[in-house]
């Protein structure tokens, strides 16, 4: 395992094939008679020549150099790395879902449209919203979609509102999405309890406020207790409230953004709804809105006639238009619907209870060993600070790297930005108490190692296929492809 895995191009031997194509059963004409030579490749693409076993062994070797939830505990804060149920995978692979074309006649895809329709309804109920679009491909894509609707809403009312407010604990995508939607961002500081500072919010809002973007519970794992006052302040100024649903796993069936005063919500189905992260994607970021924003939804939506025929509705003249080709990441939506039907509303609530109980248990047990900048009850995740280890010459990064030696994926580190040497832990509900206990013991052991044998941490990881990598060199002298051409 510690051997380097050659690049796939390095495995190539001229003359080998791994494909099987049909013979040409139509009368063949020289291609240059069909397409002018000047449009054809001067030389073939330099792709590797392999046989099937090469391909299988190469990717199997790569898979063994990778770590997923099925390999072990993955307490990555704000990412909700819960178990990815296998029935979801099977369902998405049914020919009736995987082998259908987006432009087929609607009568030939009624099952797919019904699934989307039901999912729209279920997600609307879960978030307390009036209508949901399943178009956005990811959380950030949902944020941008939501903000474009907010922009269209204000413009329709003849108001020029140019500013989006975000707390300093917000995800980086929030201000980035605001910029892409044409807004300026105002960042407000959190108060000493880690919550929105109402005075700062009051000072920031005005007749140029388009929206406040908020994650609730926030990225510190804390519920914004004053959410109703916050909503009141923003709405009184004429702004709207945007809910970043990254942390929805804490409150399913317990509280709904729609009831808290939010006007627009996105959910990350690849977090809350158990769809796999795929090594970075695909995800899905459906957006729900209150009725006043429904006319601005991107097209198309799935609707149903009185006699139960499902159809696609492109949307009216106020729609912000398309945000993606076709109908969203359908295969991911199938998985999310499957998950919802595996649990139902009562057990979805139980999911959140277990996720929150697990987080509080871990926080309580780790408190004596790591600084907890925000003590007290948390929701589904919590933050620790590694700053107490600095006196041993050890940083949070070193703790994370040492965790790799024990077979864990480390928590999120150095985020949120307003916590020094931050360690952000989200256990999720699908981990057993034994798993949590073993991880806690490891974290305690590492804290002790930091004091007694800091080099163990500073040189970690010791057991992985490569040691700590030189990221500075990668950025300074970028090597971004194998330059086989």
């Amino acid at each position: 395992m510690k051997q380097e895995q050659p690049l796939i191009f390095e495995l190539s031997r001229p003359g080998r094939v791994a494909y099987s194509l049909p013979a040409c059963d139509v009368p063949a004409v020289p291609v240059s008679e069909l397409i002018p030579q000047s449009m054809l490749r001067e030389r073939p693409a330099d792709l590797p020549e392999l046989y099937e076993v090469d391909v299988i062994r190469h990717y199997t070797a790569l898979s063994r150099r990778n770590f997923g939830i099925d390999n072990g505990f993955y307490p990555l804060g704000s990412c909700t790395m819960k178990y990815n149920p296998k029935i979801n995978e099977d369902a998405a692979r049914f020919a009736g879902f995987a082998k259908i074309h987006p432009y087929q006649p609607e009568e030939s895809v009624q099952g797919a449209l019904e699934l989307l329709y039901r999912l729209q309804k279920d997600l609307a109920a879960l978030t307390g919203m009036d209508q949901v679009t399943l178009q956005p491909a990811a959380g950030a894509h949902g944020e941008w979609t939501g903000l474009m609707m907010i922009r269209a809403y204000h413009e329709k009312r003849g108001e020029k509102r140019t500013k989006v407010i975000v707390p300093d604990s917000s995800h980086g995508t929030n201000p980035a999405s605001a910029a892409v939607a044409g807004f300026e961002t105002i960042t407000i500081k959190s108060n000493d309890k880690g919550l929105v500072d109402l005075a700062a919010l009051r000072a920031a809002v005005g007749d140029d406020t388009a929206a406040l973007m908020l994650t609730n519970p926030n990225t510190l794992g804390l519920f914004e207790e004053q959410i109703e006052e916050i909503a009141g302040i923003v709405h009184a100024a004429g702004g709207l409230l945007y809910y970043d649903g990254a942390n929805s796993n804490a409150i399913m069936g317990i509280a709904r953004p729609g009831d808290m005063g939010f006007d627009v919500v996105h959910l990350n189905l690849h977090k809350t709804m158990s769809t796999p992260h795929g090594g970075g994607g695909p995800g899905a970021g459906p957006v729900g809105v209150k009725s006043k924003l429904v006319p601005f939804l991107p097209g198309p939506l799935v609707k149903k006639t009185a006699d139960d025929v499902y159809y696609l509705d492109a949307g009216g003249e106020d729609s912000i238009g398309r945000v993606k080709a076709f109908y969203g990441n359908f295969g991911i939506l199938v998985r999310a619907y499957t998950y919802i039907r595996s649990l139902g509303p009562e057990l979805l609530r139980r999911v959140s209870e277990c996720a929150v109980l697990n987080a509080n248990y871990m926080r309580k047990r780790l408190e004596p060993y790591y600084e907890t900048p925000y003590p007290g009850i948390c929701k589904h995740e919590f933050v620790l600070s590694g700053k107490g280890l600095k006196k041993y010459g050890v940083r949070t990064l070193d703790v994370a790297k040492r965790l790799l030696d024990f077979g864990y994926h480390p928590p999120t580190i150095y985020f949120p930005l307003n916590v020094e040497e931050c360690i952000m832990i989200e256990p999720t509900e699908t981990e057993s108490k034994e798993t949590l206990d073993a991880f806690i013991e490891t974290m305690i052991l590492i804290a002790q190692e930091a004091e007694r044998e800091p080099d163990l941490l500073l040189n970690a990881p010791h057991t992985t296929v490569v040691g700590r990598l030189d990221e500075a060199q990668a950025a300074r002298k970028p090597v971004l492809n194998c330059s086989c051409s």
């Binding site: 009736g96 995987a98 797919a112 090594g279 076709f326 509303p345």
Partner: protein, 451 residues
């Protein structure tokens, strides 16, 4: 409340509550004001046991006419190509599909190397030096390319050909509203971009010219001529392309494109009702630090051993926040892996062969239409695996397709939906999967169905 995904036993719960120092779970939610607490049970779909759920999903799936039940001549951005059997086996390795973005490189070398190889493949196909780790789809990749061009040239006007996929142009328009860009469309003649109109649209205010080749009608654009027009006033040339066609067609990079984008769906990705697919995005070296999304770079570990990391992150939202080059975070990594496996399977000769098969079969089919008498081919420009058919005056494409469906065919895309002037025209795609027998019968049934 037992469930197979939830390990919490009553005893676990009691022990944990004791450690925390609470007597009821409700205390954990005491910070949520009562006025916003949800009382009761959410009106959502009910839970089903595993067998019942499987059956329910199968029933929904079976109500769709999939490619095993009907012979597909639909393309228009999503194609029914053969998916090599090994792909699903590799994509089912849960070390890949249950992993997060590779933030911890030491335990993510597999994913990082796979993406590095994907980037290499995209560079090789497109003839450009730098590719990212994927975008949501071809349409959003195209819109992001427009945004990049505007930022790079500090110009606000983008000229896009009407032969670019209508949905990609729609996404571009939405994106343009956000960034206050002006979109100018250039028309077409004989199936390809009208070069005179294009030249007249390009000024010293033009950030980029965007074309697609093979374009939405299947026709291959004259990229050499378009390149000269696009660069006349120092704007960028953005080419959206079909990666499978690049087995045969000259790469956009060699023809002078600054940015090549497209959808990798033809490379082994299931049609899946249009998603998830995988956008790709490649640029010249000059634009390297402006590219959106994740990029993997090669480096060394502390012992000098080769390794891979996410790099050039100073462009990205989690570092730069509102000043990032894009807001993209999640991408389509698993489908990038899918495309990589496809290209590994096809290799050098397979990519040529599969592209040739598409060309041969599509041209054979076009020949049948040309000879049919009832139908004609309105465009004579060279094409790849798709072409436009004009139906007789009284025929309505949607109606023709509904009839074809009853005979086991998914007919071509009704062009009247996106191009009012092409009402009664159908876009027919023919991949390597179509046999001569299927093709002959399709043309025969289509013709027979015309009144």
């Amino acid at each position: 409340m037992k469930h197979r995904y939830l390990p919490m036993t009553e005893q676990d719960q009691a022990e944990m509550m004791k450690v925390i120092g609470i007597r009821s779970l409700d205390e954990l939610f005491a910070d949520i004001p009562d006025s916003v607490r949800y009382k009761g049970t959410l009106p959502m779909s009910e839970a089903l046991d595993e067998a019942a759920l499987f059956k329910h999903l199968k029933q929904l799936a079976d109500r769709n006419t999939d490619f095993d039940k009907a012979v597909c001549f639909l393309g228009a951005g999503i194609y029914d190509h053969h998916v090599p059997v090994v792909i699903n086996h590799i994509l089912s390795r849960s070390e890949f599909y249950t992993a997060y973005t590779p933030y911890q490189p030491e335990i993510s070398q597999g994913e990082l190397q796979a993406i590095f190889e994907f980037q290499s493949y995209i560079c090789e196909l497109t003839g450009l030096k730098v590719a990212n780790a994927s975008m949501y789809d071809g349409a959003t990749a195209l819109a992001e390319a427009g945004a990049l061009a505007s930022g790079h040239t500090k110009r606000k006007r983008i000229v896009v050909s009407r032969t670019v996929h209508p949905e990609a142009r729609a996404v571009l328009r939405t994106t343009a509203r956000g960034l206050n860009l002006e979109i100018v469309e250039a028309g077409y003649a004989n199936g390809t971009t009208d070069l005179e109109q294009l030249a007249a649209s390009v000024t010293d205010q033009t950030a980029a010219v965007i074309v697609q080749s093979p374009n939405f009608f299947g026709c291959i654009e004259d990229l050499r001529a378009i390149e000269a027009i696009a660069h006349r006033h120092q704007g960028l040339l953005i080419v959206s392309t079909n990666p499978l066609a690049l087995g045969l067609l000259e790469s956009p990079g060699r023809l002078g494109a600054d940015i090549a984008v497209g959808d990798a769906q033809p490379l082994g990705i299931p049609a899946s009702f249009g998603g998830p697919t995988c956008g790709f995005f490649a640029v010249t070296e000059a634009l390297m630090r402006k590219i959106p999304g994740r990029i993997v770079g090669q480096t060394v570990d502390r012992n000098g051993k080769r390794g891979f990391v996410l790099t050039l992150q100073a462009r990205e939202q989690h570092i730069r926040r509102e000043k990032a080059t894009s807001n993209i975070c999640s991408n389509q990594a698993l489908l990038a892996l899918c495309a990589s496996v496809y290209l590994s399977v096809m290799g050098k000769s397979g990519m040529i062969e599969v592209a040739q098969l598409n060309v041969q079969k599509a041209h054979y089919t076009a020949g049948l239409f040309k000879r049919s008498g009832r139908m004609s081919l309105p465009f004579t420009a060279p094409f790849f695996n798709e072409f436009v058919v004009r139906l007789p005056d009284d025929a309505e494409a949607g109606e023709v397709n509904r009839r074809l469906l009853t005979e086991g065919f998914l007919g071509g895309y009704d062009l009247g939906l996106a191009y009012p002037e092409l009402k009664g025209h159908m876009l027919v795609a023919v991949t390597e999967r179509r046999t001569k027998e299927e093709i002959d019968r399709f043309v025969e049934r289509l013709e027979a169905g015309l009144a």
